[in-house]
Amino acid sequence: MTTASPRSEERSRDLAALLAQVSLGDRAAFRTLYRHTSAHLLGVVLRIQRDRAQAEDVLQEVYVNVWRAAQSFDGRLSQPLTWLTSIARNRAIDALRRHRTEPATVSSTVAGAGADDDHDMLQNFASDAPGPTDLLEQAADARALRQCLGALSGEQQQCVALAFYQGLSHAEVAAHLRQPLGSVKSWVRRGLMALKSCLDRLGVAR
C-alpha cells in the first residue's frame, strides 16, 4: 500500500474532486484543473515530443481527452496525477508517428539535454544522493522504485531510462547505445520483469 505524504494525499484529493466536477461539465473546475496540472503535463510531453509547438498541440489533445473522459476516471482505481500523466504520455507517443519522419537523435544537439543527462537523472533517482525527487515529499512507492531500479544491471537501467524519459523505441535505444536491437529488447524486457518482482516483494501495486 502506498503511504503517501499528507501533502501529496491532499493534492490527490483536490485533483480527484476537480475531476469529479469536470465530469459534471463544470468549466470553472476544468480551468482550475488546467492551471494546476498543465505545467507538469507539458513537461511530461516535452520529454517525448521535443518540439515546443508540437508539444503544445499534443497538450491541447490531452486536455480535450481529459474533458471527454473525466467521467470514466475512478478515484478508487488510480491516482489523478497518474491518470493525467498517462494520458499525456500516450498522446505524446501517438503523436510521434504522425510528426516524426525520422527517429529522434538523442544527442547534444537537443537544446539543454546532453546524451548523459537522462542517465544522470536515473542515477540520481536510483542512488541515495539528493535529486529532484527528494525535493518533493516522497511516496513510499517512489523509494521502492528507486531501490528496485538500483538493483538492475547498468544496461537495463539505461534502456529503461531512455525509453521512459525520452520516449525512445527499442530501435532508437539500440541506435543511441550502438547495441544490437535484440540485446536492447532483452534488457528492456528483463529490466521490467526484475522491476516487477522487486516491487511486488515491496508491496507496490498488486
Binding site: H40, Q71, A139, V204
Partner: protein, 227 residues
C-alpha cells in the same frame, strides 16, 4: 495473439506503459484496451509501478494562447463533446428508449387502490464508455405522480464489497440529485415527493461503499436512461 494470456498481457502492458510498444502493435493494444479487463488491470498496475519516474519532470508553463485554444475547441459553439454526460443524450439514441407504459402494481406500495395514470418505465442502458468497468443495466418504474420509483437490475451487478451503486435524478440543467444507494441484485424502492420534477434522466454511478462522499457522482456512470 492471445491477449487473454496473463504473462503476455503483462509484458505488453509493461511495454505499453514504458513506451516501447509502438506502431501497429500499440494501436492494436489501444483498440483492445476498453474491452479487456485483464489488459486494463495490467496497464493500471504498471502505471502505478512506473508513475514515480514521471514525478521528477520539471514543469514547463504552456504559452498563454493554449488555454483559449482549448476553450475554443471545446466550448465555442455548444458542441456535442462539450456537453456534460447527462446532456449528451443524443449520443445515446438507439440506447435510450422512449417512455413506455406498463402495468405495475405500485399502487399497492403507495397504499392507493389504483394509480390514476399508468407508471412510466425507463430502461437504464449500460453506458458504452463504462461497459468495461462494470456492465450494468436497470429498469426503473416511476409512478405518474413521481412519488415512488422501483429500480430493478436487469442482471445482478457484480459489485465489489467496497463499492456501492448510487442512483441519480438528472435534471435538464444543473447537477444530478442523489436518490440514494441501490441494490445490485434486487429491486430497490425509492420514495420521494417529486421524482419526475425537473428530471430528464436517471443514472446509476459506481461509488465507494456508503455512496459518494461529495454529493455529486465521483465514480463512473454505469447506466443511464432518459425519460
Amino acid at each position: 495473439m492471445d491477449y487473454g494470456h496473463p504473462a503476455l498481457a503483462d509484458r505488453l502492458a509493461a511495454e505499453y506503459v514504458l513506451g516501447t510498444l509502438r506502431g501497429g502493435a500499440r494501436r492494436r493494444f489501444d483498440t483492445l484496451l476498453p474491452a479487456h479487463p485483464l489488459l486494463r488491470g495490467a496497464v493500471a498496475d504498471w502505471q502505478v509501478r512506473l508513475a514515480p519516474l514521471a514525478d521528477s519532470v520539471l514543469g514547463v508553463e504552456p504559452s498563454a494562447q493554449l488555454w483559449p485554444r482549448i476553450e475554443q475547441r471545446l466550448f465555442a459553439s455548444e458542441r456535442q463533446d462539450a456537453l456534460p454526460w447527462w446532456r449528451r443524450l443524443g449520443v445515446w439514441q438507439g440506447w435510450a428508449t422512449a417512455a413506455t407504459v406498463a402495468a405495475i402494481g405500485l399502487g399497492v406500495l403507495l397504499n392507493q387502490p389504483q394509480p390514476v395514470q399508468p407508471p412510466i418505465v425507463i430502461v437504464l442502458n449500460a453506458n458504452p464508455d463504462a461497459a468495461g468497468v462494470l456492465p450494468a443495466r436497470f429498469v426503473a418504474s416511476v409512478t405518474a405522480d413521481g412519488r415512488a420509483l422501483v429500480l430493478r437490475p436487469v442482471d445482478a451487478v457484480a459489485l465489489d464489497a467496497n463499492r456501492a451503486l448510487e442512483l441519480w435524478a438528472v435534471p435538464g440543467q444543473g447537477a444530478p440529485r442523489s436518490l440514494g444507494l441501490v441494490r445490485p441484485d434486487q429491486a430497490t424502492t425509492v420514495l420521494r415527493t417529486q421524482l419526475l420534477d425537473n428530471t430528464a434522466a436517471f443514472a446509476v454511478s459506481l461509488e465507494p461503499a456508503g455512496g459518494s462522499p461529495t454529493g455529486a457522482p465521483t465514480g463512473p456512470i454505469l447506466s443511464l436512461g432518459s425519460i
